[in-house]
Structures are given as structure tokens and as C-alpha cells.
């Protein structure tokens, strides 16, 4: 008998378990669906969101957003609008799970559209599947600009701002907000972003915008906590030690809530200004921290409950609150816009919902009004990059009790339009 070492035995055992897990990845249970029935549906959309864990709130709010979108489409009563059947899948923020579900949507459920995905790394996997299956992938909540660049394909469209837009707005904001400081000395910046594709891209887009704007800055340090990091204390201590003028953070969802909650008990917000131009201004952070939310943080998000004060946004926020019992985070509006965009693009195609090329062309020319559009502005798709062009609103945390349990919301807004971004990144034909 050949002797087997202890380590080797554990390794083999581990391998067997892995094989079993891979071979039987998930039970083939019925998927949750919204909208039209399987028989009556004109278009099947498979939406992928995390429904559990720290990012779960974004997925759950996105489902409410989809429900609101279907309801909104029905209320329009237009016969040209397609009947949508929306399938829902929980990615658990894992690439392998997301790929398995996405494949099932397109291969077994005949979905011609994939939508959603919060995590950019997961989105890169999903967009490859969509490309190989000639299916549309409508991004509603992930933001890495590499999806419309390196991983671009004809059927990918994103209906929320990406990292390049948000961080360009952030760079413009810094140039204006720290004007007095910059006249005297360079701005020392520390960056803390999640340790995956999205975090790297936010930082790269931000530095590119700062460089193009000629902002004088120094890098005090860069830190990369992993997703769902339970303890940020060492990162916070390191940020305090680096003594930057500004901490730029790109954590999102529950990670950002955990970070700010832990940082409120330290000197961080006293010794440095703090900014998150991506999803730091999500309502969930305000709801979670209540009156413990520090004032004076510089935050943005892809949708705000208190801006713009248009009828459409008010309707969206109040209707969401009526149905869910609480106010929405930004993911809801992304999902709402995604479903609305699919319906509108399909209706503007030749009328044949199977004409995917026609729908693709309609998507490229798409203009639609979304809850986050200020008066006089309409979101529109960039036909070249397939990236929607929207306004970015950056604010400062101020006391605002109108959306309980939050006691603090964003105010002192500075608004940046797509035309502002194009001055930094000129469009090349």
C-alpha cells in the first residue's frame, strides 16, 4: 500500500468536495419571475442581483424597482410597449454563481435580455456570456468603465453612470471645492477602494480626470480592503497615519456602511475630508447611521431621494416607499430605468420583438426621462460606447429629517452635466 501523507490526504478530500460542488452547482428550482406569464411574454429578461449578504439590499431594492417599472409601463397603456417577463436570480456576489444563472437564463429560459449585476467583476463574466449568446446585457448597477471599453460588445448597454463619469464629476468637484487649497499646495489624497476590478477602475478613472484637469495632487497612499471586509480598523488607522487632505473612498453597499460606522468612532473625519463620488450617497447609509452620520462628507450616488425635485422622482420615491415600506437605495432606480429602457427600445424597433438588431439600433438612439433627470434634461445613450449620459449630483451631508429613519441627507448640491464630462474627455468619432 502506498503511504499517503497527511497534507496529500486533506488535499484529495478537498478536491473531491470541490468536484461534487462544481458538478452539482445548484438545485434546479423554479426561478422567481415578475410581469407577463411565460405564455404571453413578448420579451424575457433575466435579471441578476445579489439578494443576500452586504450587497443584498441593492438587489432587493432593484427587484422593487423592476416591479415599479412594470407597473409604470402598464400604466402607460401603450399597445406598442412589449409585455415583459422578468426572471430574477441571486448571484450571491459570486462570479461562478452568476455565470451559471446567466447561462440558464439564455440557454434554458430563452431570455434575450440579461440585466442588473452590481459587482463589476461579476458583470465582466456575465457580459462575456451575453456576447457569446448574442443576448443583450443591460447594466443597471455596476460601474466599471472597462465594460464599455475593453469588454465592450454590441449588445451591451449601461443605463446608469459609470466610474469614468462619476469620477470625472468628482475631479471637477475637487477642482472647484478645494480651489483655495490648491492655490497654495498640492492636495494629498489617500484612496481606499474595494479590492477588485471596480475599485481599480474608479481609481484609474479618477486619476485620469485629475491629470486631464491639471489638478495638483499627491498620492498619500492606496488601500484595498477585500469585499465584505469585517474589520476596517487597520485600514482606518493607516488612513489616519497617512495624514491626507482628502480620503477618496469607493466602497459601496454594506461595506461602505460598515466602514463609516467604524470610522465615526475614530479621528478620521476630523483630520481629513472624506469623499465617495460613486455610491457613498446611497440612502441606505443614511438610514443605517441615522443621527450618527457625520456631517460634511462629500458624497454622490446614481440616484437621490431628495434630488431632483421633479414630479417623476417624487412619484418614484413615494411609490417605492408605499410598496416597500422604506425609501429606496440607488439600485432601485437603476433597475427601474433598465426595464423602462428595454421596453422603450423594443417598442421603437420595427415592432418585431425578435428583431434584435433593430432593438440594438433603437438602444443606440435611445433617449428617455428617468427619475434622476433634472428639469430640462433627458438621459440619452451614447451610440458609440453604449454608455448612458446622465447628470451627476454631488452633495455634502447635511441635517435633513424628511426621509426617516435617516436624519442626514445630501445637500449643498453641485451638478455636473455630460457636457462637462466631454470637456475633460472629448468625444472622438
Amino acid at each position: 500500500m502506498i503511504p499517503i501523507s497527511h497534507n496529500r490526504f486533506i488535499g484529495i478530500l478537498f478536491g473531491i468536495c470541490l468536484v461534487v460542488l462544481v458538478t452539482f452547482p445548484m438545485p434546479s428550482k423554479a426561478l422567481e419571475s415578475l410581469g407577463a406569464s411565460e405564455d404571453t411574454a413578448d420579451i424575457i429578461v433575466g435579471c441578476l442581483y445579489p439578494m443576500s449578504g452586504r450587497a443584498g439590499v441593492l438587489g432587493r431594492d432593484s427587484v422593487v424597482g423592476i416591479r415599479l417599472a412594470l407597473q409604470y409601463i402598464e400604466q402607460q397603456g401603450l399597445p406598442t410597449l412589449p409585455r415583459l417577463r422578468v426572471l430574477l436570480g441571486d448571484t450571491k456576489s459570486k462570479r461562478s454563481t452568476a455565470v451559471t444563472i446567466a447561462k440558464r437564463f439564455v440557454e434554458e429560459e430563452q431570455a434575450t435580455f440579461l440585466c442588473g449585476v452590481v459587482n463589476s467583476s461579476v458583470a465582466i463574466q456575465v457580459t462575456e456570456i451575453a456576447a457569446s449568446a448574442d443576448a443583450f446585457f443591460i447594466g443597471t448597477d455596476h460601474a466599471s468603465s472597462r465594460l464599455t471599453d475593453e469588454f465592450f460588445h454590441d449588445r451591451y448597454f449601461r443605463v446608469t453612470n459609470d466610474t469614468r463619469q462619476s469620477m470625472t464629476a468628482g475631479a471637477l468637484f475637487i477642482r472647484d471645492y478645494f480651489d483655495d487649497h490648491l492655490k497654495k499646495k498640492p492636495l494629498r489624497i489617500s484612496y481606499l477602494g474595494p479590492d477588485y476590478e471596480y475599485g481599480y477602475q474608479v481609481w484609474a478613472d479618477f486619476r485620469e480626470a485629475l491629470n486631464k484637469l491639471g489638478v495638483d495632487y499627491e498620492i498619500a497612499g492606496t488601500l484595498w480592503p477585500r469585499l465584505s471586509e469585517p474589520d476596517y480598523s487597520h485600514y482606518i488607522n493607516e488612513l489616519i497615519r497617512q495624514e491626507p487632505d482628502l480620503v477618496v473612498n469607493s466602497l459601496w453597499g454594506g461595506d461602505f456602511v460598515a466602514f463609516v460606522t467604524q470610522a465615526t468612532d475614530t479621528r478620521l473625519f476630523d483630520v481629513s475630508r472624506f469623499a465617495n463620488f460613486e455610491k457613498g450617497g446611497d440612502y441606505e447609509i443614511f438610514a443605517h447611521l441615522g443621527d450618527r452620520m457625520p456631517l460634511g462628507l462629500l458624497l454622490a450616488s446614481r440616484h437621490h431621494n431628495n434630488w431632483p425635485e421633479t414630479d417623476f422622482n417624487r412619484w418614484f420615491v413615494q411609490e417605492f416607499h408605499r410598496q416597500a415600506g422604506y425609501y429606496p437605495s440607488s439600485g432601485a432606480q437603476g433597475a427601474f430605468t433598465g426595464i423602462l429602457a428595454i421596453a422603450k427600445a423594443a417598442s421603437q424597433a420595427s415592432g418585431n420583438y425578435k428583431d434584435l438588431e433593430g432593438i440594438e439600433r433603437a438602444f443606440e438612439q435611445l433617449s428617455l426621462t428617468t427619475p434622476e433627470d433634472p428639469p430640462g434634461f433627458q438621459s440619452s445613450m451614447d451610440p458609440v460606447t453604449h454608455q448612458i449620459r446622465q447628470v451627476m449630483a454631488i452633495g455634502e451631508t447635511v441635517k435633513d429629517p424628511r426621509y426617516p429613519p435617516a436624519k442626514v441627507m445630501l445637500g449643498n448640491w453641485r451638478i455636473y452635466y455630460p457636457s462637462d464630462f466631454e470637456q475633460v474627455h472629448p468625444v472622438t468619432e
Binding site: 496529500r8 488535499g11 470541490l18 465582466i124 485600514y235
Partner: protein, 535 residues
């Protein structure tokens, strides 16, 4: 010494604990890597993966099953990606976000054996991306260089995270030193200002070329404490020295203040009541010196008073005897002389007898003075117009003054009334005026009498511009039988003082030798008050 021993003991305990913690951390690091090796072995042992690695043609992409296996590995929070190198591939195939491959040359990364695999790297963190390393295995063995291998791209921060519990905020920061001799912090970045201290502690290599360094940060925190500790020791020593010096100083100062008091007390005990005590001193010593000085003055007064009383008693007895034994024979002699004188016709002898009669009167006067001093008459106070008294004296003394060429001057003053015995006041003033005249017999001069009222007293001063009295004599002027005159009895001023005291007054003498003498009688003012005490 105690402090040094205490610090040494503390350092020994700390070192022992630190070594134990370091050993624990080394074990954690090896365990972390071993777990990744297990994951890698599980991946490499999957038949589809093994087959693809060993048989795939160049550029042949992995099939769906292999991809599923590789993708599964990516769900680990500690892994960035997977890298595979089938035997017929020229270069490895990375399943990794391109950002992480920026500024990385795989061939230049260090190679470290671990367990039955190898570690490539780490690719050090940059401003654009975090650090990572590859843990690889080869199904065909690693020596010589493997033709086919599969590797996991491991997050460097996940490895460094294993030592975060070694961190002591403000004191120690754990670093992992890579084979490139670059320190990485527990959060996976390169410290901005790497500093080295003799107090840094290095562990053994937990794998070849990799070790932990406990960076000492305590100087800014403990430096002030250390300074404070030495400061306190110095302060305690200084305080002890200061106490000794202060004790010596206080002892000397006490000695300096107490010694004169002891000497003074000895003098008083020896009967010297006239030398003042040294009354300088602080606090209690000062009070004691003052009390002793008061005691000396009271003793002096008491002794003087007792001597005076005793002297007067002796003088009284003596005077009574003299009066009895001398006056009667003198009266007989006087009567006899007067009888003889009337019958004597010879003028020369008659003149002689008159002289004897005159001398008998003088002896009688002396005896009367003795009796007056020894048995003073009680004063009977009443309202006395001092101006009247002075004018009366001036009228009586003017003739005598004129005879000696002396001008007697009364300075004009409005009426002023004293509460005293008028005859005794007159006697005093007369005595003072006569003394002044006698002081200038033969040389002439001027005697001035002044009266004034000040406060609740009446003052009568008699001053002359004669030879005056020396300071040595001045204090003895009122002592009985002290006189500077050749034919004086030394009782006049003693009686004056006695009378002044009997009238609740006193006498004050002021003189500068060669410039005359001024004697001032002080008497109580008449207050027009029935309750004014009787003398």
C-alpha cells in the same frame, strides 16, 4: 537601581510574549499558504484540468468544464485569479484582471519553494493596484523547470492580514518582509516612510526569504514617557537634595535667631535689664523675641519700682530719725543762737551768729526735703489755671533771675486748665524754673516758659540756653541724690517727678550738651466733667 531592575524584568517578559506571538503569527502564515496549496491541489487533480494541462495544443482554449473549474476558484476572497501554463503553451494564460498585471515582469519575480509547490513573487503593490503572488503546482513536478503548471494568484493583503493581530497601536506595527527585502504592512501596502530602529524585532523566515518584522513605533509615544521617568528620578533626587539644603538653611537661620535670644535671656537672668534683646525674627521666633523683650522691659520697670519703693521706705525711716534726732537739737541751737545774738553787741560776732542761724535754716530745709520725698503729700486735684500758676512763679522767680542776669520769659498763651493739685503744680514749676536759673548762674542766659494744650493733656515746658546735660546724666536726673551742682541735694527733680506722677502726669527731659535743657511737665486736661477721676 530599582528602576533599572524593574525595566529589565519588564523587557524580559515583553520579549517572551513577543516571541510567542511571533511564533503564532508565523504558524498562521504557513497555514494560510498551506490552505491555498490544498485548493491548488484540488484544482490540479481534477482530471479535465490535468488532461488539458498536459495535452492541450498551443493556443487551444480550455473547454467549458475546465473554465468552470477555474471560475470556481475565483470565488475565493483570497484569490484574484488563476494562471495556467499547459505544457505546449509558450506563455502562461492568465485569468486575471489586466490592471493587476500592470508593471509586472513575471520572469523578474523571485521564486520561493513552499510545500510541494512554489511561490512566484510577490508582485509588489503600486499606486495603481494591490500586490499579489502566484502559488503554483505542476502535475509533472517542479524540478527541473515545469513545462505545465497551474497557479493561484493570491491576494498579498490576505497573507499580510494574518499578522494584523501583532499590531499594537502606537507601539508596534507588523510588517512582512518579502524576498525583495521590501516591507509590506498588515493591510498590504508599502509603508510610506519605512524606518528602521534597533528596537525592531525580526522573526525567523516563515518560508525561505520571507519573515516578519515588528516595526517599533513606540519612540514618539514612549519617548516622552521615558523622558518623564528619568525626569521623575531626577526630580526625586533634586527634591531630596533640596530638603537637605533647606533643613540646613532653616537650622542655621533658627540658630541665628534663637542664639541672640538665649544670650539676651541669660543677660536678663544675670540682672542686665538695660540691654535690649535682639527682636528680629520670623513668625514664631519673632513673636517669642518680642514677648521676651516685653518681659525684659516689664522686669526692668518692676525692679526699678521695687528699688524705688525700698529706697523710699529706707529714706522715710532715715528721715523720721533725722527729723527727730536733728530738728529738736537744731531748734534748741537756733533758739539759743537767737537769744545770744540779741545780747551780742559785737557786730562781728552778731554777724557770725546770724550765719549760724541761717545754716540751721538750711539744714532744716534739707530735712524737710527728705521728709517730703519720703512721705509725699497726697495730691488733691481741682481745676487749675496753668497760666495763673506760671505767672505766679514768674513773679516770684523774676527777682532771682534778674540778680543772676538771666532773662525769664513767659510765652503768651490763652487760658488752659489742668486737673491737678495747684500747689503741687506750682511747686514743680517753681522747682524747674529755679533749676534752670541755677544752671546759668554766673553765665547769664534766658529761661523760657511755654504752655500748651494738645489732645487731652496740658504741657508746661521750661527751657534754658545754658550748658545742658549730657546724655549719660539725663537718664539719672530724677533719681534721688543725683545732682550736678556742688551744693545741691539731688532731691528737687526727684520730688518733681514724684509730684507729677501723683497728679497723673510725668516729666520729660530733652537736652543737647552745650545747648541747654528743656523739661516738659505733662498734666491731664481739665474736661469740665464731674466724673473726672480724682488723683
Amino acid at each position: 537601581m530599582y528602576d533599572t531592575q524593574y525595566v529589565k524584568a519588564l523587557e524580559k517578559v515583553t520579549e517572551s510574549r513577543t516571541n510567542a506571538r511571533l511564533a503564532g503569527a508565523e504558524n498562521l502564515l504557513r497555514t494560510f499558504l498551506q490552505e491555498r496549496i490544498y485548493e491548488l491541489e484540488a484544482l490540479a487533480d481534477v482530471p479535465e484540468v490535468f488532461d488539458w494541462l498536459t495535452t492541450a495544443n498551443a493556443e487551444e482554449k480550455p473547454n467549458a468544464e475546465v473554465m468552470a473549474q477555474l471560475r470556481q476558484a475565483l470565488d475565493s476572497p483570497h484569490l484574484y485569479g488563476v494562471v495556467v501554463k499547459p505544457s505546449r503553451y509558450e506563455a502562461p494564460l492568465w485569468y486575471l484582471t489586466q490592471t493587476l498585471l500592470q508593471q509586472v515582469e513575471l520572469d523578474e519575480l523571485p521564486l520561493t519553494p513552499f510545500a510541494n509547490g512554489e511561490i512566484i513573487g510577490p508582485a509588489l503593490p503600486t499606486d495603481s493596484r494591490p500586490g499579489w503572488f502566484v502559488l503554483r503546482l505542476s502535475p509533472t513536478g517542479l524540478n527541473p523547470a515545469p513545462e505545465a503548471w497551474v497557479g493561484l494568484v493570491v491576494r498579498l493583503a490576505s497573507l499580510t492580514d494574518q499578522v494584523k493581530d501583532l499590531s499594537l497601536t502606537g507601539l508596534q506595527s507588523p510588517l512582512i518582509v518579502t524576498p525583495q527585502n521590501v516591507p509590506i504592512t498588515a493591510v498590504g501596502n508599502i509603508p510610506g516612510k519605512p524606518s528602521y530602529s534597533a528596537k525592531d524585532i525580526n522573526s525567523n523566515d516563515f518560508i525561505e526569504g520571507w519573515h516578519i518584522r515588528l516595526q517599533w513605533l513606540g519612540d514618539p509615544l514612549l519617548g516622552p514617557l521615558e523622558s518623564a521617568r528619568f525626569g521623575l528620578i531626577l526630580l526625586a533626587s533634586g527634591a531630596a537634595l533640596a530638603v537637605i539644603l533647606l533643613s540646613r538653611h532653616l537650622s542655621k537661620r533658627l540658630e541665628k535667631q534663637v542664639t541672640p535670644l538665649i544670650e539676651g535671656a541669660d543677660r536678663v537672668a544675670g540682672g542686665d535689664f538695660d540691654t535690649p534683646l535682639h527682636t528680629e525674627g520670623t513668625a514664631e521666633i519673632g513673636y517669642l523675641a518680642f514677648a521676651l523683650e516685653r518681659m525684659r522691659l516689664r522686669l526692668r520697670r518692676l525692679v526699678k519700682s521695687m528699688v524705688d519703693v525700698e529706697r523710699r521706705a529706707i529714706l522715710g525711716q532715715f528721715s523720721a530719725g533725722v527729723a527727730h534726732e536733728i530738728r529738736n537739737p537744731l531748734a534748741t541751737i537756733k533758739t539759743t543762737i537767737q537769744a545770744l545774738s540779741r545780747k551780742e553787741s559785737d557786730p562781728k560776732r552778731q554777724k557770725l551768729m546770724e550765719s549760724v542761724d541761717h545754716e540751721i535754716d538750711r539744714v532744716n530745709d534739707v530735712v524737710q526735703l527728705l521728709l517730703d520725698y519720703a512721705r509725699p503729700r497726697e495730691a488733691k486735684a481741682s481745676k487749675v489755671n496753668i497760666i495763673d500758676v506760671v505767672e505766679t512763679v514768674k513773679i516770684l522767680a523774676d527777682a532771682v533771675a534778674h540778680r543772676h542776669g538771666i532773662e525769664l520769659v513767659q510765652v503768651e498763651h490763652e487760658s488752659v486748665y489742668a486737673w491737678a493739685d495747684s500747689s503741687q503744680v506750682r511747686q514743680i514749676v517753681m522747682n524747674l524754673v529755679m533749676n534752670a536759673i541755677q544752671a546759668m548762674e554766673g553765665i547769664g542766659g534766658r529761661v523760657t516758659i511755654r504752655t500748651k494744650q494738645q489732645g487731652l493733656a496740658v504741657y508746661v515746658s521750661v527751657s534754658d540756653n545754658g550748658p545742658g546735660v549730657s546724655a549719660d546724666h539725663l537718664i539719672h536726673l530724677t533719681e534721688p541724690f543725683f545732682t550736678t551742682k556742688t551744693n545741691g541735694t539731688g532731691l528737687g527733680l526727684a520730688i518733681c517727678r514724684q509730684l507729677a506722677q501723683a497728679n497723673q502726669g510725668n516729666l520729660r527731659f530733652q537736652s543737647v550738651s552745650g545747648e541747654g535743657l528743656k523739661v516738659t511737665l505733662k498734666l491731664p486736661l481739665y474736661l469740665n466733667n464731674e466724673n473726672q477721676g480724682s488723683v
